[in-house]
């Protein structure tokens, strides 16, 4: 019997657990529709903030060891421009039976509430609150994901601002990500997304300079899969809300491992660079083949399998 990839996420029915991670091709209705057509189970839009941003100058992405290091710098049209874009995207995704997750960020706790209120006008299926972008530190200071306290504050403000389901996106570079997850859940987060990129930089010895124009950036892709697995595995032991496990997933086995670590959905970002949005249908195919072969009838039967047995 063929395994089923169907996922239930906060009552949203999805064809499969793969989510286009925020910042990956989430810039237009047409490109998000493309990801949907090529096999994604849900699409996250590029994080939108209070005002338009052009982001950092090139170089903004570099390959690293099977992964990527980026400092795009949150390029986005601003939340007000984003609303019609999200509406149009939502219309198209709905026709294909896919949910839309809308990502947002802001420079202050209060601004998170305001941006969330604006984005909520587009009625996405989920608001993903990006409190963990490592690439705007020089402007915004330490990300809110740095401590349980600041993460919880943002969550509370967004929770008050909108009725839609919210997921808080956490950063890996903290001593205990599980405690931060606990804090955001206790302030009303419906889900947790983990992880954002790992703060990092490349230097070119011949140039004697950082390569990214922004000097530092965030590491993603294969290189960080073990970091993401550990984060999700820890969070899953601390909270009972669903987790969108993201980081380094590039094949069906990776996705299975992420679900075994406790994830309900699986975010895919950098792997898109390997073969374009077709990566989603490949990962789904591989995941289904793995599940069928190993006798997992559905995602639930696999979820959390690598967690300590109670």
């Amino acid at each position: 019997m063929e395994a089923s990839l169907a996922a239930d996420f906060l009552g949203i029915q999805m064809k499969n657990p793969l989510v286009v991670a925020s910042g990956i091709l989430g810039t237009s209705a047409s490109v998000m529709e493309r990801c949907a057509r090529e096999g994604a189970g849900a699409v996250t839009s590029k994080s939108a903030g209070p005002e338009p941003r052009t982001g950092h100058a090139n170089p903004v992405t570099l390959a690293w060891n099977g992964g990527v290091i980026n400092a795009i710098g949150l390029t986005n049209p601003g939340c007000r421009e984003e609303v019609p874009l999200l509406r149009e995207t939502h219309r198209r995704l709905r026709a294909l039976g896919l949910p839309l997750f809308a990502s947002l960020f802001a420079p202050s706790v209060e601004a998170f509430g305001e941006v969330a209120r604006v984005i909520a006008e587009a009625e996405p299926d989920l608001i993903e609150v990006n409190i963990s972008c490592p690439n705007v530190g020089s402007e915004f200071g330490t990300p809110f994901s740095a401590t349980a306290k600041s993460a919880a504050e943002v969550t509370a403000v967004v929770r008050k601002a909108v009725k839609l389901p919210i997921s808080i996106k956490l950063a890996p570079n903290v001593p205990e990500i599980g405690r931060i997850a606990q804090a955001v859940v206790s302030e009303g987060a419906d889900a947790v997304t983990a992880i954002n990129t790992v703060p990092a930089m490349l230097i070119d010895a011949y140039a004697g300079k950082p390569v990214l124009k922004n000097a530092t950036g965030g590491l993603s892709g294969a290189a960080i899969k073990p970091v993401a697995l550990k984060a999700v595995w820890e969070i899953a032991q601390m909270v009972s809300v669903p987790i969108i496990g993201t980081g380094g997933i590039s094949c069906g086995l990776d996705a299975a491992e992420m679900i075994m670590a406790g994830a309900t959905l699986v975010g895919v970002g950098s792997a898109v660079a390997l073969e374009g949005p077709a990566v989603f249908s490949r990962i789904n195919r591989e995941l289904e083949a793995f599940m069928t072969q190993e006798g997992y009838p559905d995602l639930a039967s696999m979820r959390g399998k690598a967690l300590p047995q109670k």
Partner: protein
């Protein structure tokens, strides 16, 4: 636990190359020849070129043995690159994107401005495979033309158009190209240049049922299909019969039409 990074490279890391020679094509355009080559570059593919503290921009591969880029000075980054001297370094990642695919044996190449750069690489390959090549080059004025001698000496039949008539026919290169299609009856058309030129060629080829391979430009940031900034506008995709969300860096730069 399997690691799958064996599909398509992520564009590779930046590698420094040294300028081995500089050819002055015209007042604003220089061809830089380098002391190395890229792994397996195809005509039509591009590189992202970086100068520390200045910036990074995409450039078509003009030749690979040795590696050459033809750079037109239009702004701060290209200006710094045009001013590089022999022995200076330029950092490249790539090759990125797809390339042209030679179809049949009669090839019509159409270049506007520095669009001639990838076409010269393509002509070389086509002639190596013993195809017949007609190349149409266009520019505002004679002084803007590049690679005319290079393409002629390779063995292409050349047709030139300038807007002011200072060289070749007066008018647009699209007009010369249309004449060439009728006269030469090519198996496929390959073009690189401004979007307006490409769209005009696309319409004309669609009417004639001639397959076309058009190399587009766009604002590139990641260069590897992640950031979305190089997406071809949806109207253009529809007009060209391309699927929506077409990415110049990943699906292109060459769009296969017809």
């Amino acid at each position: 636990m399997k690691t799958t990074v064996n599909h398509r490279s992520l564009g590779g890391i930046m590698r420094p190359y040294r300028v081995a020679n500089v050819l002055r094509e015209n007042e604003t355009t220089h061809t830089l020849l380098f002391d190395g080559r890229l792994p397996e570059a195809q005509p039509g593919q591009f590189v992202m070129a970086w100068l520390p503290e200045i910036g990074e921009k995409p450039f078509s591969i003009h030749a690979n043995i040795p590696l050459a880029l033809t750079i037109c000075d239009v702004g701060p980054v290209s200006n710094a690159m045009v001013n590089l001297q022999v022995h200076d370094r330029l950092w490249l990642r790539g090759p990125l994107g797809n390339g042209f695919e030679l179809k049949g044996s009669k090839h019509l190449l159409v270049g506007g401005g520095y669009g001639a750069a990838p076409l010269s690489f393509l002509a070389e390959e086509a002639l190596r495979q013993e195809g017949e090549v007609v190349a149409c080059l266009g520019a505002k004025t004679k002084a803007d033309l590049i690679l005319v001698d290079r393409l002629t000496s390779l063995g292409c039949e050349l047709r030139v158009a300038t807007e002011d008539g200072s060289e070749g026919s007066q008018g647009l290169v699209t007009e010369v190209a249309q004449e060439a299609i009728d006269a030469f009856q090519p198996d496929c058309l390959y073009a690189c240049g401004p979007t307006g030129m490409l769209l005009a060629l696309a319409d004309f080829c669609q009417q004639r049922g001639l397959p076309a391979q058009l190399s587009f430009e766009a604002l590139m940031r990641c260069g590897v299909g992640l950031c979305g900034s190089c997406e071809l506008p949806e109207e253009l995709c529809q007009r060209l019969g391309l699927p929506g969300g077409w990415l110049v860096c990943h699906d292109g730069p060459v769009a296969m039409i017809g």
